[in-house]
Symmetry: D2
Subunit: 311 residues, 4 copies
């Protein structure tokens, strides 16, 4: 992989010039005004080497990518008991999740769709309050990324709350089935806070390193999670990380990843690399158009795919 | 992996004695009368070494495992044009597939649910007849497994046809949307023939070797499919190979696999192993209860999981 | 009601000239080639007076209107036991019926959607054969209408069979749940025969007289069905007779009725009138565009609505 | 109808002793503690004669019966423009309404399911505030019933708000599609207020008189609504007034009616009678078990059914 620097540079160049960039999420002003011309990439290898390209140091709203870190915290709190309140199957339906909640009695299909992430937030909030729980998440991200500059974008969090009627519907619906323990408003405030976290590609790739390293923090060697849990979080990312485009992403890219409506994707090649890409334009499944394409190019150029024999 | 022989023997012993064995499929007599006490395993390593345990040489009805091989043939015939007629997303719904067909206008979600496999059969049948097309599949399996004794169990195929009202419903429904080209009866006859193929674990693991070897036949070195196609078939197996238990299987086992209602599972560790397990009792998702457990044990003991760093 | 003749004439004149006539069903050639300019109406009062307008003597394909008569026969055969195999609730969903069959385990919602009518045909067929059962229906209609010239249009019946993939899907699906007793092919042949019956407005209105007369045949005074059963068939027509447009028809017209894809509607004002209208163009719910409008005009002009105080 | 007094007395006696009384709604304490032994009936004839039986003067929570009066008010405010925001088709699905909202983009099927009634409340609230709008409804009911003692049960209204997570989900979901104009909290407060109205059978039957009298108030002769609108409200009650048991009620009883989870039913025989029954035990469709049975008995004994020829 002597030429990884070149590969990253080539991808950044191609994406900077790409004509078809998808459509920026426009349901809140703070996302709608992001420049669709942006593209960033950061690749951190297992040995700690960092390769970046494009707008790798510009913070963006990580949105649903935060679900990976909240799941990690919640599993740390309650262990496998979490799976009694959230499933781990792909939602796999063009019907979206509120239909599924009805037929499956308030148990969301997986922690990476909104309904499931709301239950995960409810678990993290348990015995605490919104401010403290949001602080816990922020400290965890700063620790994982070795970077104290990560913050929550207040404007984004507040806009999410003001326009989040569908999330209010989901949360109330789950509550009606008895699968939320805290007041709906509190759980959602935490959820909106996590959506509002702003990180750059460099920071996000750094935060994801434990998932490529059998659960270890690279600086301290400390186990953030057990190797088994790291492996299993990667599995859930692969099957559920791109909403109803998860099968397509596995087929084309073959790397566990989690996307967010802000245009970011965290992708993890076990033992090899932690990768973050960002481009705000989304495809019709709600995943970053150029982010997906960049990861497909990267997989092709490096041979990184969990469906390949080890390189 | 010096101890793989021991691992396989230990698993076979544990499964032979396992008290909870699931429930044998009983919709046709030929399946209903299979002894629930059976368990077989065959592991073929990349270097060609074969390890077997339990009832590894007893033929069983491979049923939906045949969908992997039919997909391979169909992709060989029409290439990526296949994906205009079948999706590649997990069906991911406790609602089963006929609901999805209605909302998605006759395009099945993936080639590994019945609806999708019927469309794949329709593609393989195109320009041929049922007898010839079934013969093609049989020859392909014999070639892959280097074993001319593989046959179609006529009793099973005929029973499938006589009781397959749900499959007739699916096929007619797809036909109503214009997504079958042959007469419903012909396409289904081919489909029932493929379900009736009988293979042992040893034969099935042998047939699956090309998927661990970047698409190459181990004896001749010939590319059965390109490396990219082998990788992509593995990806579809991981996200869609166990019906609505695919996420669970990825989470627990972490190996691409395809199960059948006869109790068999083909599992592929890229670059490492082609594995077949068989035990006729099914869990509540319709996948082999002990077959799934055996693969979980094997993954734990060997470290084989595509979500682990390479061993 | 001295001026009913004038009302009928006015309606016929308005409909003959109406610019928006809907869209003729085109799934079989025999329906597709019907002249969209046609409109017929026949009103038979309780005293036997007949008023006709437009193309009242031209036979058309009654299609689903036949479901009323088949339900009458089936209730005569098995009585209320019929309701263990078919419901009597509106299907009430833009999702069409195969979705409902899955969630309700093969029990169709009501006898006036295709799925339910297929079960009704299966009941009528029981202990007989297709030819005899179709003959029974034909004799029943000739008796009701006092008209031996009513026939089955063979071309229509055969075209239905050749293109009826969705009906084959429904029937096989119901069979998979054990709710068909005869071979799928036989039940469907009877169903396609009933769809192919050709009647004029005059004949259809005559055939419907028993439903306005407490179940009595007007010529003989014989009870075709009990008064209670006549009332209940009218109730099912009101809530379920126009597919997912039944609520709209009740709201606008307020008269029990059953429509068919051939453009015919039978409507019954208890104690007052038996009415048939026909115009082949359909609205977006699959009901006759001008037939519905004509009945709305008739209801307004006469005060005939079951939601009005008696006139 | 000389013996209507006897009929009512007989029904009251039978229902007082009936062994199978259904199940009292228990989602809020104020409903759960209602004595399941209660049964009341009030019949007001077109000439003003009143016949009562059982607990006809005990107030109960009218719950969803209020939807009839709110619909009347909303139609008075915005006329047929209301139907752009709510449909008038039976929901007709064992799937309940949130599924339908997703597939039909936030337009509830009809004004008599919760989702539709929430939109109706939103219309009534427009340009006003919760207190005033609730006051308007109360004044309207007092005017219709000629009875100033009708009140809102505050405990019920507040309990509804505290446990109404499913209604919060519905309202937020509708808001997400842009079909609520007021803040969710305000619209729901009005909705919970209307659910909390307490009326006796005598009061409820009195309030419903305009629907049997072509829209006229019996005391003043004033048109509360036009005759056409009265007829159409009756039509919507018939097709949609008993949730997914509307077809069954039409089949058995044949009278337009609206039920509530408090066990009350308002039923209207155009030109003949306004009827209220109450018994708190519900059947499996959520309609009063004995209330439905009492109306079936009344229909049989009197011949009152809109599907009968006029008596």
């Amino acid at each position: 992989m002597a030429d990884i620097a070149n590969i990253v540079a080539d991808i950044a160049a191609e994406m900077a010039a790409a004509p078809h960039r998808g459509k920026v999420a426009d349901y809140i002003p703070a996302l709608a005004r992001v420049d669709i011309g942006r593209f960033g990439i950061a690749v951190i290898l297992a040995d700690g080497t960092v390769h970046v390209g494009g707008d790798a140091d510009i913070p963006f709203s990580i949105q649903s990518v935060s679900k990976v870190f909240m799941l990690t915290i919640a599993l740390g709190r309650v262990g496998d008991a979490l799976w009694r309140r959230v499933g781990r199957e792909p939602s796999g339906s063009a019907f979206n999740s509120i239909v599924q909640l009805e037929s499956e009695h308030g148990i969301p299909r997986n922690p990476f769709i909104n309904a499931g992430a709301i239950v995960v937030s409810d678990i993290v909030l348990q015995g605490s309050d919104v401010r403290s729980a949001a602080g816990d998440l922020l400290r965890f991200l700063r620790f994982l990324a070795d970077d104290d500059s990560i913050v929550i974008d207040r404007e984004v969090a507040e806009s999410e709350a003001q326009t989040g009627f569908r999330n209010y519907a989901l949360a109330n619906y789950i509550k009606a089935f008895g699968n939320l323990r805290n007041p709906v408003e509190d759980t959602l405030q935490l959820y909106f806070n996590q959506c509002g976290i702003a990180m750059s590609c460099r920071q996000l790739a750094a935060a994801g390193r434990y998932l490529m390293l059998d659960g270890r923090h690279p600086a301290t060697g400390q186990q953030v999670v057990t190797a088994r849990r790291a492996r299993r979080i990667n599995a859930v990312m692969l099957t559920c990380g791109h909403y109803d485009g998860s099968g397509e992403f596995a087929y084309r890219v073959g790397i566990p990843g989690k996307s967010g409506v802000g245009g970011g994707i965290l992708a993890v090649v076990p033992g090899e690399a932690s990768i973050a890409v960002w481009s705000p334009g989304l495809n019709e499944r709600g995943n970053s158009q150029l982010g997906s394409l960049a990861l497909e190019r990267l997989s092709e150029a490096t041979g990184w795919s969990i469906f390949n024999p080890p390189v």
